[in-house]
């Protein structure tokens, strides 16, 4: 406060490196983004991937081997509330929901392969058989339907005995001979061969001595010894003997619903999630040491959520949970973790690992992408100056210029604003939209470019060239379209077809500021670099084990900077078709261990227009300027010093100490870019703001009884 104005301050001494790291930062917190709650999680042991579905129908795929990177996603749909998600037949992913459809996802092309109505009303549950060849769905009308999974579709086979009320949970016996189905007030055990219910196990409605209206069996798990574990709305976890249909053991674990259950493959441990946000770990332990008699014991409670834990999964080394509070929490089981590495740390994933913000630098505009609309904002300005840490008085506040609602029920996949600010493009799963913006003083004139060509139906990524004259669109068939933009119209220039034999979609694009080079990357194969002038593939950067999280091409040098999910950063010279000397040096020396231990991926890379040696990059909790002219830090040097420097010599010493200049002031950081030489824009989304928009959690009294 006292620094405001700064008239009395002595004139600034231009120290040798002064200004090298001094910026005005537009600190933006008005991006009112709220992630959707998590509804289902499904873990695939074979590929170590996790599928997560959200309440808006979005399905995300996380690669647990690649530092938990969210490598794929399928956009949501208003009418497609997903209630069940499962992997089957190896790596095929199915979902089912309240619209009564079973959907299979194409994990290569990143679209929906087909949707098939099960004709049983809303679907509440789904389970793939242990062999992976059959799919079972539980419907609103009380029917359990068996589908055969064929190589390219699923085929209805038969119905099991119809039950009285909706089937909320399903589990196969590991041998595939029986299934358990949780309904309202009871659990049925079916014989798969005959399709008839052989047992009906009634669940006690009583809750803390009070009879509740109904007891909903939210989750069941069938173990190979014939035990059925159930989780219900009365806060109970119960063990049943499926052979006799009797209750064996009862654990009352919560005052609220137990909503989800997942068992480990070894069947020695399972996890349940409650509506109070608690996750309980149960383990099968010996009654006494060295004895072969074992029993299920509730071992560890975890409270990483504030709201309902709607879904849990159990990977070999971790408990995974997600719920209404939108966090995906991966809690490693310390006894299963061999060494201290990525896997040993608790992960809380809140934000998507892709950009939702784009920026028109020249006009100082920000475009925010929401599920069903876009917002355009113009940044404010100030005439004041100040020193480090000052908040400057605004001469003009930020303006909300435009609220653009999508047509139709589909979520927006991607969006982009052109650098000049005159074009906005976005895409849903079935339509591509391009708008022309005209600014007349304070008025904005929005004009949709109609008659999009048939091939421009759906885009995974959109990018404008630096001069806003070209539009690059990555479609979901692996092809890249190049379009020339004219005043109010466009012209299709070229389509780069995918390499023969691959159908992998490109998710990330980067274009060089001179417009000559276009880099595109999928989730696994290497980065392709195209020559836009000659319209041909220039080279392919060698494939790396970990997926690319961000791409950018530096001005003048045309060096391609690539960030990977294991936190490695490479610099590749496009003209020379090889890694640069700096990149080789840093690979030889290795990144600082703290750099490698960061747990969110780098989502954006940009460059300083005047300082070719600088690279700017950021993840959700820090942003960093790498000064390539300075020595690299080794593990003994302090990578990040949060304390302000004490005197002039300290400033100089720190500035020249090593190449990584890090700031953790802005977090969680969704977007950061350079507007001009001395101005940065940082889009933050404080977690409190998200929590404030969630429904209130179950209230727990702190005092009294």
């Amino acid at each position: 406060m006292w620094g405001r104005g700064g008239e009395r301050r002595a004139p600034r001494v231009a120290s040798p490196s002064a200004g090298m790291g001094e910026f005005k930062v537009h600190r933006v917190r008005f991006f009112n983004y709220v992630p959707s709650g998590i509804r289902c999680v499904a873990y695939n042991n074979q590929s170590n991937r996790l599928a997560v579905s959200r309440t808006d129908g979005t399905v995300e795929i996380y690669n647990l081997s690649a530092n938990y990177f969210q490598e794929k996603f399928f956009p949501g749909h208003e009418s497609r509330a997903t209630e069940a998600l499962c992997w089957a037949n190896g790596q095929r992913l199915f979902s089912a929901g309240l619209n009564g459809e079973i959907i299979e996802y194409d994990l290569q092309a990143l679209n929906i392969k087909y949707a098939m109505d099960a004709f049983g009303g809303p679907i509440w549950s789904m389970a793939a058989s242990p062999s992976g060849s059959q799919l079972l769905v539980g419907c609103e009308d009380g029917s359990v339907k068996l589908f055969q999974i064929t190589p390219d579709k699923i085929q209805f086979e038969r119905n099991f005995d119809r039950q009285k009320s909706r089937i909320l949970s399903l589990s196969w016996h590991p041998a595939g001979t029986h299934i358990a189905a949780g309904s309202i007030d009871y659990i049925s055990v079916f014989d798969v061969k005959s399709g008839s219910a052989i047992h009906k196990m009634l669940v006690d409605r009583q809750y803390m001595g009070v009879s509740k209206r109904k007891c909903i069996v939210w989750g069941v798990a069938f173990l190979s010894d014939g035990t059925v574990i159930s989780a219900d709305s009365a806060g109970k976890v119960q063990f049943w003997d499926s052979a006799t249909g009797t209750l064996v053991k009862n654990h009352l674990i919560a005052d609220a619903d137990v909503q989800s259950i997942a068992v480990s493959d070894q069947e020695d441990s399972f996890v349940v999630g409650t509506a109070e946000g608690t996750v309980f770990h149960f383990q099968l332990v010996s009654v006494t040491s060295n004895s072969s008699e074992k029993q299920w014991v509730r071992t560890k409670p975890f409270q990483h959520h504030t709201h309902d834990v709607r879904a849990v999964a159990h990977s070999p080394i971790a408990l995974i949970s997600g719920g209404t509070d939108t966090h995906l929490v991966i809690r490693p089981l310390m006894e299963k973790v061999e060494v201290k590495n990525y896997d040993a740390a608790l992960r809380k994933i809140t934000f998507p690992h892709r950009r939702l913000v784009s920026c028109a630098k020249k006009k100082q505009l920000l475009l925010f992408q929401f599920a069903h609309h876009l917002e355009l904002w113009r940044l404010g300005s100030t005439v004041a100056t100040g020193k480090n840490g000052d908040t400057l008085p605004l001469s003009k506040n930020a303006d909300h210029l435009l609220h653009l609602k999508t047509k139709g029920p589909e979520n927006i996949i991607c969006s982009c604003i052109s650098p000049c600010g005159s074009w906005i493009a976005y895409s849903t799963a079935s339509r591509f939209f391009l708008y022309r913006l005209n600014y007349e003083h304070d008025n904005i004139n929005l004009q949709r470019v109609s008659k999009m060509p048939a091939f421009l139906r759906s885009a995974l990524q959109i990018l404008f060239s630096e001069d806003s004259a070209k539009l690059f669109v990555a479609s979901n068939q692996g092809s890249l379209h190049v379009i020339r933009l004219l005043e109010g119209s466009f012209k299709h220039l070229h389509t780069f077809q995918p390499q023969s034999g691959t159908v992998e979609s490109m998710c990330l694009l980067a274009v060089s500021p001179d417009g000559n080079w276009l880099a595109a990357s999928g989730t696994s194969a290497g980065v392709h670099v195209y020559n836009v002038k000659q319209l041909k593939l220039h080279c392919t950067v060698p494939a790396y084990n970990f997926p690319v999280t961000a791409l950018a091409i530096a001005p003048n040098t045309n060096n391609l900077v690539i960030a990977h999910s294991d936190q490695q950063v490479f610099e590749y010279s496009i003209p020379d078709k090889q890694y640069t000397q700096w990149s080789r040096t840093i690979q030889k020396q290795g990144f600082h261990h703290l750099w490698l231990q960061r747990d969110t991926p780098i989502t954006h890379i940009s460059f300083h227009p005047k300082r070719p040696m600088h690279i700017l990059l950021h993840d959700a909790y820090m942003f960093c300027i790498i000064d390539k002219s300075l020595p690299l830090p080794n593990d003994k040097t302090l990578l990040y010093n949060p304390l302000p420097p004490t005197n002039e010599s300290d400033i100089i010493r720190r500035r020249t100490a090593h190449a990584f200049k890090i700031s953790k002031k802005y977090k969680p950081l969704l977007f950061m870019d350079l507007l001009d030489e001395r101005t940065l824009v940082a889009v933050e989304r404080p977690l409190d703001d998200i929590i404030a928009q969630l429904p209130p959690p179950i209230k727990k009294k702190k005092f009294g009884t």
Partner: protein, 718 residues
């Protein structure tokens, strides 16, 4: 669990001559590399994991190696002795042993010892010991004779104790065994005579030793097939004197008693020993791992081709001769812990994960409650108790005490007890104390006039007794209504059954004030608050008390009526202590004792109603005292806590509500308790309201910060 892994043969070719097997297997300065000296002329360096020899050296024809080669860890050189007196030192580069450094000594060498972190030592056959450096400086120096004529060194070992080297060697003369312990920090050589019990006239065949803090545990495998243990103090009380140590039976019949040769023993760790030999007289020879703590066989491996009765243990490998081949059997033993058994801890030794060291370890937790004793010693108490008489014949105070207990006068017992308590505590101190108490109690029962009160008090105050160690003591004190002893027991014993606690409570409440006057009760838990006599100003205090609850303003006018009728009396009741200070001290001892509700409640029902009322009044009084200050604590040293007071109020009411509710004299008390609970409830609801308001405030505050949705700031990166 201890386990033997699949073994492998180290030498592809049979070891050179000599029916007695190799002379020795010694560690070299590199891990996994071992020097094997055969009984002829050759030293071979093996890399065990590769099962490959790395080097081999031989002495000339006609010479014979008499002492196994060792590695000098300080220089990396190897040392060997041939023809008893000729010392050779060489290193890896040397090819021919003839051309390496040679020193001829003036006396015959028994062994050279070398371990990490210490200078190698040379032990001569006559018992003299020299450091290698000192010896090389003057090889022909005179070597003195330590042992007597015909005394032969049988076995020797060198180890570090608290970073000081200690060498032990065992000699034999005419069937008697002697142990010599040489400490190098003090240059003291202590001699011990190993005593055998009369019935065990068996010759020791193999020895092994390890260090347990202040003792060297020397184990010997005798010709009767049993393993005996001898504890030799590292710091003897009188080093000059020839002392005698007794050996005790550790493991019975681990090898067949008739086995004449081929038996060997080595200590693996604190609880495990490896034994080589035939388990039954007719069976083949076996390598077995025994747990000495639980006396169980943990693992066993048959060696059908016979062995030579030699066993070496280095690192994680056991070396022995199997047939004609040197065999290596890797041995693993994980510390068994509860956490390990429950699966909480997979790799306790994983250096990378430091955070996971919190687990229950049976190995260390046991000795915790035993005060000053070291935990290693206490572990073996169980076993030791059985053979106590044989272990402790040399310790006079305890035996004398035990004897005195049986027949001597009270005075004499006291003297003996003081003597016993004055000496340093031995590992079995608390079992002896337990035995003494039981002996005293036995005598008390036999002679009604005998009541050694002072002795008992002294014994209780040793702080090693527990209820289970002397089960009759409290019952006896209850019989005698000795409240002082009962108070002490309640304070000291961690494991008093609820029925006994309740019996104590009954006595404390019913004992007459006049008999209490005479007793000497520890009053430290009762500070001056019981002495406060009511006067006017305290009455005012009660109004501010009770968590801000004011009885006058209470809505329940009817209930309060009776109370307000006699305000003076009410004030009196709540401010003066309803019991005398001594009784309060006794009751506080009850409040402090541990209990489990389910077991306590049935016994509480047996207490007469007026006593219940009295106790309730006292508890209520304590509560009022508690609420006088902000921290809700009572003054004094070790006073009852608020939780203890509240728990007991609840317990008493739970157990006796129907009785108490009928008593006219308890009515007022119940009313005040009722009002108190009511006020607590209203406070809680107020707190809940405040919590909500605070949350609203927090929300407002948040919105305030949120309002700054946009700002332009200056940032400088360093």
């Amino acid at each position: 669990m201890a386990a033997l892994e699949e073994g492998f043969t180290l030498t592809a070719v049979p070891l050179g001559s000599g029916p007695d097997g190799p002379l020795g297997v010694e560690q070299s300065d590199k891990t996994d590399q071992f020097l094997v000296t055969d009984s002829g002329r050759t030293v071979i360096l093996y890399k065990v994991s590769d099962q490959k020899p790395l080097g081999s050296w031989s002495v000339k024809q006609g010479q014979i190696i008499t002492c196994p080669a060792v590695c000098n860890f300080q220089t990396g050189e190897y040392i060997v002795v041939h023809d008893n007196k000729v010392l050779r030192i060489w290193n890896n580069e040397d090819v021919n042993l003839d051309k390496v450094f040679k020193a001829t000594l003036s006396a015959e060498v028994y062994r050279i010892h070398s371990i990490q972190g210490a200078e190698p030592l040379v032990l001569f056959k006559e018992g003299a010991i020299r450091g290698l450096e000192a010896l090389l400086a003057e090889p022909q120096q005179k070597i003195e004779t330590v042992t007597s004529d015909e005394e032969v060194i049988k076995w020797t070992k060198f180890f570090m104790v608290f970073r000081h080297p200690v060498l032990i060697f065992i000699t034999e003369k005419h069937g008697n065994y002697f142990a010599y312990v040489q400490k190098f920090n003090s240059r003291i050589l202590s001699k011990y005579t190993l005593l055998l019990r009369q019935e065990e006239k068996s010759a020791a065949q193999s020895f092994s030793a390890s260090v347990y803090r202040k003792f060297i545990s020397l184990m010997s495998l005798s010709s009767d097939g049993c393993v005996y243990e001898t504890l030799i103090p590292i710091h003897p009380s009188d080093p000059e004197k020839n002392q005698r140590v007794v050996r005790s039976l550790l493991l019975k019949s681990v090898v067949s008693g008739s086995a004449r040769s081929g038996v060997a023993l080595t200590i693996l760790d604190q609880d495990h020993v490896a034994v080589l030999g035939p388990p039954l007289s007719a069976s083949k020879e076996c390598l077995s791992i025994w747990n000495t703590k639980f006396q169980t066989l943990q693992a066993s491996k048959e060696l059908p081709q016979g062995t030579s009765g030699q066993l070496w243990y280095h690192g994680e490998n056991l070396f022995m001769l199997h047939g004609k081949f040197l065999t290596v059997i890797p041995y693993k033993c994980e510390v068994s812990s509860l956490a390990g058994a429950l699966g909480k801890l997979k790799h306790s030794q994983d250096p990378d994960i430091h955070a996971m060291t919190h687990f229950v370890n049976w190995e260390t937790s046991q000795g915790y409650g035993l005060g000053s004793q070291n935990s290693e010693q206490s572990k073996r108490i169980l076993r030791r108790r059985k053979i106590e008489a044989s272990v402790q014949p040399e310790v006079p105070p305890s035996t004398q005490l035990l004897a005195a207990v049986q027949k001597d006068s009270e005075k004499h017992i006291e003297v003996e007890l003081r003597k016993f308590l004055a000496v340093k505590r031995t590992p079995d101190f608390h079992t002896i104390i337990g035995d003494v108490v039981i002996g005293l109690l036995g005598r008390c029962k036999a002679e009604p006039s005998f009541y050694p009160r002072n002795c008992l008090m002294q014994l209780i105050q040793t702080r090693v007794l527990s209820y289970s160690l002397c089960p009759g003591l409290m019952e006896f004190a209850l019989e005698k209504t000795d409240v002082q002893i009962l108070q002490l027991c309640l304070q000291q014993f961690p494991d008093i059954p609820e029925s006994v606690t309740c019996a104590c409570l009954k006595i404390f409440l019913s004992i007459g004030d006049d008999s209490l006057q005479e007793t000497d009760i520890n009053m430290e838990s009762v500070s001056d608050y019981t002495a406060i006599i009511q006067d006017g100003e305290i009455e005012e205090q009660t109004e501010i008390l009770q968590n801000g609850f004011n009885p006058e303003e209470d809505n329940c006018e009817n209930c309060a009526q009776e109370l307000t009728e006699k305000p003076q009396a009410a004030a009196e009741e709540s401010t003066s202590c309803p019991v005398t200070g001594k009784r309060a001290a006794l009751l506080n001892a009850i409040l402090h004792s541990a209990y489990s509700e389910t077991f306590l409640l049935p016994h509480l029902k047996d207490i007469p109603a007026q006593h219940i009322t009295l106790f309730l009044q006292y508890l209520y009084f304590l509560y009022l005292k508690c609420s006088e200050n902000a921290t809700m604590t009572l003054p004094g040293i070790h006073p009852p806590t608020l939780n203890q007071i509240m728990d007991w109020i609840c317990l008493l009411l739970d157990a006796n509500f129907t009785v108490v509710v009928m008593l006219p004299e308890a009515k007022r008390l119940l009313l005040s308790l009722y009002k108190f609970v009511k006020s607590q409830i209203s406070i809680c609801s107020e707190l809940n309201k405040i919590e909500v308001s605070f949350r609203e405030l927090q929300k407002l505050n948040q919105e305030k910060t949120n309002r700054e949705l946009y700002s332009i700031e200056v940032l400088e990166l360093f």
